[in-house]
């Protein structure tokens, strides 16, 4: 029982980064921008939050957890938004190919994260010495009363606020896209920017805002990983391939953020299942690690057999828009 509980709890913990990434990417893709730079942006968001907290704690002799939280949150949002801005300027204003820019941004972002991770590690006095305990404690603070309830408390209330924020964000985005005017306008841009343009929607402004806010949301996934999951430290490439899984989840969630919630938990669970599965040897463990990917493929095949209009990617995804182009 307690093992199952630990498993579920950690499955959720593993999923949250991916959920942020997927939510951000959905918002971005709804504007017709396929941002393959999300994996890099998540690194950028993570390291920026960590650096801000690190320097804050270093400069202030007696750091305050809440101030650290605000500073690192802002830094993370800003830097990942900056990643989104680079992407936007190149693909929206300069109409560069989205794949190239995205992949280059991922290279850039991962390098950015690892480079600055290494730099502050040096400043901190060596590996494993980066620690922003005070700030991290704010990220990891749980509701004292609720989290003590047996089982339910552990399963539902034992997480820091970013976990709940990720879910709220996904739900809010779903509402935004479905029930608001701006959401409708945004969706129409992703479908057909020339139609949206003719309807008087400011296409590039929406694309910019959606891409940049999408990047900021995705960056929170990196921040979550660094602050809540790792408790405020860094290792190179520690974030791994979660950014790619986030992009995968977008397709699996059929571009609906609420679907990404359960999808991310599923991913998270499959990701760590091999640790909990009894009776595996080293070779079979490696096969077990294939599960998240194989399950994704299987789900994908099954969903693709039902080709509903509504389940398709935004029709203009990946294409630059120029009003005077035929």
């Amino acid at each position: 029982m307690s093992m199952l509980l630990t498993f579920l709890q950690n499955a959720i913990g593993q999923g949250i980064s991916i959920l942020f990434g997927a939510s951000g990417e959905i918002l971005t893709e709804k504007s017709g921008n396929l941002n393959l730079g999300i994996p890099g942006i998540m690194y950028m968001g993570g390291i920026a939050g960590l650096m801000a907290a690190f320097f804050y704690e270093k400069v202030s002799g007696n750091p305050n957890a809440f101030v650290g939280l605000v500073i690192s949150l802002l830094a993370s949002l800003l830097v990942s938004a900056f990643g989104g801005l680079i992407y936007s300027v190149l693909t929206i204003s300069l109409r560069a190919n989205q794949n190239v820019v995205g992949l280059a941004l991922t290279t850039f972002g991962v390098g950015f994260g690892n480079f600055f991770g290494g730099s502050i590690s040096k400043l901190a006095g060596g590996v494993g010495q980066i620690s922003v305990k005070t700030t991290a404690s704010a990220y990891r603070a749980v509701l004292p009363g609720l989290s003590n309830i047996p089982v339910v408390g552990k399963l539902l209330f034992s997480y820091g606020f970013l976990t709940y924020l990720s879910i709220v964000t996904a739900i809010f985005l779903t509402y935004f896209l479905k029930h608001t005017r701006k959401g409708l306008n945004l969706r129409s841009i992703g479908e057909d920017p020339s139609t949206a343009d003719a309807a008087g929607i400011h296409v590039s402004r929406y694309k910019y805002i959606a891409t940049i806010s999408g990047a900021a949301i995705a960056g929170l996934g990196g921040l979550y990983f660094v602050m809540e999951y790792l408790g405020g430290t860094w290792t190179n490439n520690g974030f791994g391939d979660r950014g790619w899984l986030a992009i995968a989840l977008v397709i699996l969630a059929l571009w609906k953020p609420v679907n990404a919630i359960w999808g991310s938990f599923l991913f998270g669970g499959l990701y760590i299942l091999y640790i909990y599965m009894p009776g595996l040897n080293r070779a079979t463990q490696e096969l077990c690690k294939m599960l998240p990917y194989v399950v994704t493929i299987i789900v994908l095949i099954f969903t693709s057999k039902r080709n509903k209009h509504e389940n398709q990617p935004p029709a203009s995804l990946g294409q630059a828009y120029f009003r005077e182009e035929r």
Binding site: S2, M3, L5, T6, N10, Q14, N114, G117, G118, S121, K122, A124, G126, V127, G128, Q129, I130, S131, K133, R140, Y229, L230, G231, T233, W234, T235, N236, G238, G240, I272, I275, Y276, R282, Q285, E286
Partner: protein
């Protein structure tokens, strides 16, 4: 005898430096340290504990031998493929007199380079092929880190005793969890030493080992530690390179013994100490040998005696009372040679002693060269660890 006359064609740009062979040594004047060049390739960088420890060792060497910064060329993130060969050759061509490599998978590529650059010395950490390769300029090195792991085990055992005394756990519940990288002799040897150290003070202790199948994977280490804790581990230790396990232990408020680096910043409330390696003594020894023109041992593995291993400062707020004294006592015994970590009278395998098994079981015959005088001679035949036996009290998952 070394092939000193057999200069590689590419070594022409080598400054008039010693080629690090015995025969040349007399001809080299004192103070030639100014002309020496040292190259090293690392699997990772300063962000990863294992490489960071090597970098520290190189720094110690450079300081103690008075090398300037442009006499040491470091290359980080060198993979275990052709890029290792490219990097090693590049260092040799840049005029390095000695080249080090710090990852197991570099060894094959280093041997390749050693065959081509016969007047350059090559030293490889954790490898095992130097002696058997027959190349006079190829060397292996490692440390007797099992000694420091033993000592850190003692710290852990004392903590468990403390918890038993305080009634937090029963003696039967004294189970440790160990996050291992691979089921590899280096790891097995390490956790056995750690377990024996704990057992030497807490006889009822047991240990569960789970592998991450990676040398450095923060998430996997974190998750494996959580799983071990959920499965009843009351104390965590690790042989993997990141802070993943201490993070998990700190969360679960479970005491933890780290590896490579001091974990008190990551786990201020639970970190006890870490088993660490000082690579400085070897690097100093090897480079000094090149300067002096003396031979470098084909295999080198030293422990407490040479200051090559240690434990990081004990976190007094977490450790049991009296730990420091006990540690000092054990360390002294190790230095004096009166205490042997793999004393065969302290453990059994499937209920039998190691000597009995070697005599009776063909699978264990290969250890016959290692076992004599009542203990297992770890890292003595070759520098890399050889103890690959799961002893009673330890379970692998």
């Amino acid at each position: 005898g070394c092939g000193s006359s057999n200069k590689g064609g590419n070594a022409d740009n080598t400054p008039a430096a010693p080629s690090g062979t015995e025969t040349d040594s007399e001809a080299i004047p004192e103070g030639s340290a100014a002309d020496i060049k040292v190259g090293i390739i690392y699997i990772g960088d300063e962000n990863e504990g294992y490489t960071a420890a090597h970098m520290e060792g190189i720094k110690v060497m450079a300081t103690s031998l008075g090398l300037s910064s442009d006499q040491v060329i470091e290359k980080t993130h060198i993979g275990e493929d052709e890029s290792a060969y490219d990097a090693i050759v590049d260092l040799a061509e840049q005029g390095c007199n000695i080249v080090f490599a710090n990852s197991f998978g570099h060894e094959d590529y280093m041997i390749q380079a050693a065959q081509e650059f016969t007047d350059v010395q090559f030293a490889h950490a954790t490898g095992f092929q130097a002696a058997s390769s027959g190349l006079p300029n190829m060397h292996n090195y490692f440390t007797a880190v099992y000694e420091s792991r033993y000592v850190s085990g003692v710290v852990a055992g004392l903590k468990l005793n403390d918890m038993i005394t305080k009634g937090e756990i029963t003696a039967e519940e004294a189970k440790m969890g160990y996050v291992g990288a691979y089921p590899y002799a280096e790891v097995v040897s390490g956790f056995t030493a750690f377990y024996l150290g704990a057992k030497s003070v807490c006889p009822s202790v047991t240990m569960e080992v789970q592998y991450t199948n990676s040398w450095a994977d923060m998430t996997a280490e974190n998750e494996v530690a959580k799983q071990l804790i959920a499965n009843g581990a009351k104390l965590i230790s690790q042989h993997a390179d990141t802070t993943g396990a201490p993070t998990a232990a700190e969360d679960a408020k479970v005491p933890v013994v780290g590896y490579n680096v001091d974990m008190t910043l990551v786990a201020p409330n639970t970190a006890l100490t870490s088993a660490t390696i000082n690579w400085g003594p070897y690097y100093t020894y090897a480079v000094k040998s090149v300067i002096d023109g003396t031979a470098i041992a084909a295999d080198w593995s030293k422990g407490y005696v040479d200051g090559a291993v240690a434990i990081s400062p004990i976190n007094e707020s977490v450790a049991a009372e009296g730990t420091a004294d006990k540690v000092a006592e054990v360390e002294a015994a190790l230095k004096a040679g009166t205490l042997k970590v793999f004393d065969t009278s302290t453990f059994t395998v499937n209920g039998s002693t190691l000597e009995e098994l070697i005599a009776s079981n063909a699978d264990y015959e290969k250890y016959s060269a290692n076992v004599s005088d009542g203990y297992f001679h770890e890292s003595e035949v070759i520098s890399s660890p050889a103890f690959g036996i799961i002893i009673d009290g330890i379970t692998e998952k």
